[in-house]
């Protein structure tokens, strides 16, 4: 029966690592992509594994039927696998502390129960192997590792692409139940076939439960700007929408505000005026690079700039295309022959296309405290960007009010201006007069029609107000209240040192 122990070890590893991937996604969503989420969930999961291995070894003393013991443990694991994600999602309605505690406990419990199997499988697979302890241990361990290797691959690449997070959680619970039945069969428990059929039926029933987990989690942890409308889930992440009374729906990527569907200068619900002001600063860019398309409002406005011949858009998550198709304001950019969308990491795409140069680069950067944002905000990446910019090119991106983002830009570019939370940087640009700004804004054309009516006094007044929002970098430095620092890939300043720590978020 050594083979059965190895299969048990393999499936336990597969289910365990798959569930870890699911919890990382769950926590990443609950904490809006906080950089500490991955390490903390990994640590809690390992803590559960450690405790489980500690308890599991106790079953190895004595003469009981360990396959039946494993079967019972896995039935318990399946029940917890099914219930705990729901419990954690609802616990956040009582606040971040309650939600965090329930989430942490859930992660530990789900890993603890499954990892009790680990010493049992080793005992079953090794103790009957005579004197070859090392090699017999390693074979059972290897089977566990193969399962642990396949878990992230199957779940990360396939299951999360095809199914929702909720369905994946339920699928894992059902599969755990099936492995429990396999253990009972190996332990010569009676009526196993009947139980196997029951396990499959329960799995299917769990799988087809109505999809409300993300809605619950979004409502309990996310923005309350409007009612939950819909979610798009794929292996790249979770995008969800909140309904807005004015029709400019809110878009969230990984539960963090991404933008709104709006291209109207005067409505300006998403502060789209920042993009209009970019047309004032850089009026006729021929080649444009946009890193991070999100809901497409920015790209749609940039496509109205006069003289634009080509817009390369680099976006990691293809789910945004599905979103853009739903909204008439932004949908036309998908059929705009000048717009080419590349699904890739921005840095990798640039390094793989060293020949591409641009007159205007726009980055729709997310909050400065989110995981891996250093890869876009660091001095190293700005230098990569600069190497792709023509001498008079302009770079614009969102600092999300981190003054260190401006400081970093000032070490790479000769001129850095602040427009609200926008960094506008380059080596050779200047702000025009109000008359020239009026002319440049009036030159914007979308589908051959003027985008703004400069004959309207309120439009001119708004432009005048917007022009007053420009500040030089020195103003940002003066009001920061501390010496500003340069963000590098080594110090990861905005993610960790000055970031919004997950611990702070729990106790707020």
């Amino acid at each position: 029966m050594i083979w059965a122990a190895r299969y048990l070890s393999l499936f336990t590893g597969l289910l365990s690592l798959s569930q870890e991937i699911l919890w990382v996604r769950f926590a990443g969503f609950a904490y809006k992509g906080a950089p500490q989420a991955f390490g903390i969930i990994l640590g809690l999961y390992l803590l559960g594994i450690a405790l489980g291995a500690g308890f599991g070894k106790l079953y190895c003393r004595g003469e009981r039927n360990l396959y039946n013991v494993a079967g019972v443990l896995l039935v318990i694991a399946a029940v917890f696998d099914m219930l705990l994600p729901w419990l954690a999602a609802h616990a956040f309605s009582f606040g971040n502390l309650a939600g965090g505690l329930v989430l942490a406990t859930s992660v530990i419990i789900t890993s603890l129960i499954k990892s009790k199997i680990f010493p049992i499988a080793h005992h079953l697979g090794s103790s009957s192997s005579g004197g070859k302890v090392g090699s017999s241990v390693s074979k059972v361990y290897f089977a566990n590792i193969i399962g642990s290797t396949l878990g992230p691959l199957v779940t990360g690449f396939v299951l999360l692409q095809v199914f929702t997070l909720q369905q994946c959680f339920m699928l894992m619970a059902g599969l755990t139940l099936c492995v429990a039945i396999f253990c009972f069969m190996a332990g010569t428990f009676s009526h196993c076939r009947l139980y196997l059929v029951g396990g499959v039926v329960v799995t299917l029933a769990l799988f087809f439960l109505p999809g409300t987990m993300i809605k619950t989690l979004a409502e309990n942890t996310g923005s309350k700007e409007g009612p939950f409308k819909d979610a798009i889930e794929n292996r790249y992440g979770i995008i969800h929408l909140l309904d807005a009374e004015d029709g400019c729906d809110f878009v969230f990527g990984g539960n963090a505000y991404d933008g709104r569907i709006n291209i109207d200068f005067m409505g300006d619900s998403n502060w789209i005026s920042r993009l209009y002001m970019l047309a004032v600063v850089k009026p006729q860019p021929m080649r444009v690079l946009i890193i991070g398309m999100s809901a497409g409002s920015w790209t749609r406005v940039v496509s109205a700039f006069p003289g634009v011949e080509k817009i390369d858009v680099v976006e990691i998550n293809p789910g945004y295309i599905e979103l853009i198709r739903r909204y008439d304001e932004v949908k036309p950019l998908l059929s705009d022959p000048r717009v080419e969308i590349h699904y890739d990491d921005g840095r990798r795409w640039l390094k793989r296309h060293p020949d591409k140069n641009y007159d205007l680069v726009v980055m729709n950067t997310t909050f400065h405290w989110r995981a891996y944002i250093t890869m876009l905000l660091s001095r190293e990446f700005l230098e990569v960007l600069k190497s792709h910019m023509n001498p008079a090119a302009v770079l614009a991106y969102n600092s999300t009010y981190s003054p260190d983002v401006f400081k970093t830009a000032s070490t790479v570019f000769g001129k850095v201006w602040c427009y609200g939370n926008f960094v506008i940087a380059g080596d050779a640009f200047s702000l025009p007069s109000e008359d020239e700004a009026t002319r440049r804004l009036g030159a914007l054309r979308l589908d051959k029609k003027p985008l703004v009516d400069m004959a309207r006094p309120e439009v001119v007044a708004k432009l005048k107000a917007c022009m007053g929002n420009f500040e030089p970098y020195s103003a940002v430095e003066a009001r920061a209240g501390r010496p500003l620092q340069v963000i590098t890939e080594q110090n990861m300043l905005t993610e960790y040192r000055f970031g919004q720590s997950i611990m702070k978020s729990i106790f707020d």
Partner: protein, 205 residues
Amino acid sequence: MVQTKRRISEPILLGVFFISGVSALIYQVAWQRLLFGAFGVDVESITIVVSTFMLGLGCGALIGGQLADRYGRRVIEIFAICEVGIGLFGAISPFLIPEVGERFMQHSLPVIALVNFLLILAPATLMGATLPMLVAYLCHSNANVGVSIGSLYLSNTLGAATGAIATGIVLFIFLTLNQTIYLAAAGNFFVASVVYLTIRGKVPA
């Protein structure tokens, strides 16, 4: 090969394996960032790194098991050599990974995935080899495999949990990415030193 002089007690073994676990997970979190910097961030990269780490542990487990059966109690010396190997790779990784990333960035994504895989495979294999070695070593005094592996796995995994959590909420706040990696390497060298000095009778067993 150094002649084994003294047997290492279970508490010391559990202690050094805890530190080894701390270093391993510091590496996983830190190397993930180095690899993302070198090759780009997306779900494929994340999945490949996690899976490669696991596969390396598995390959190491097979090799470690064979070595444990061949060398008996002397396998503890090979364990110390493995720790030195992990530490050496850790110490050069801040230079090696970005350099390899620059050289292979222009290649196709499957080639980049393969390079990622090979980069992590060697140290992960060494890490994976350590568990069956220590289980076999401990089994010479405690014949119950389940109990031995349970204790060692508990200790190593508690260390790993500590490393994973501490990296995000403490180390990255006070140290740079490279300094964090060097700290993990120092952990490996410390483990090797303790084992070496103990079997040579320089510290109490």
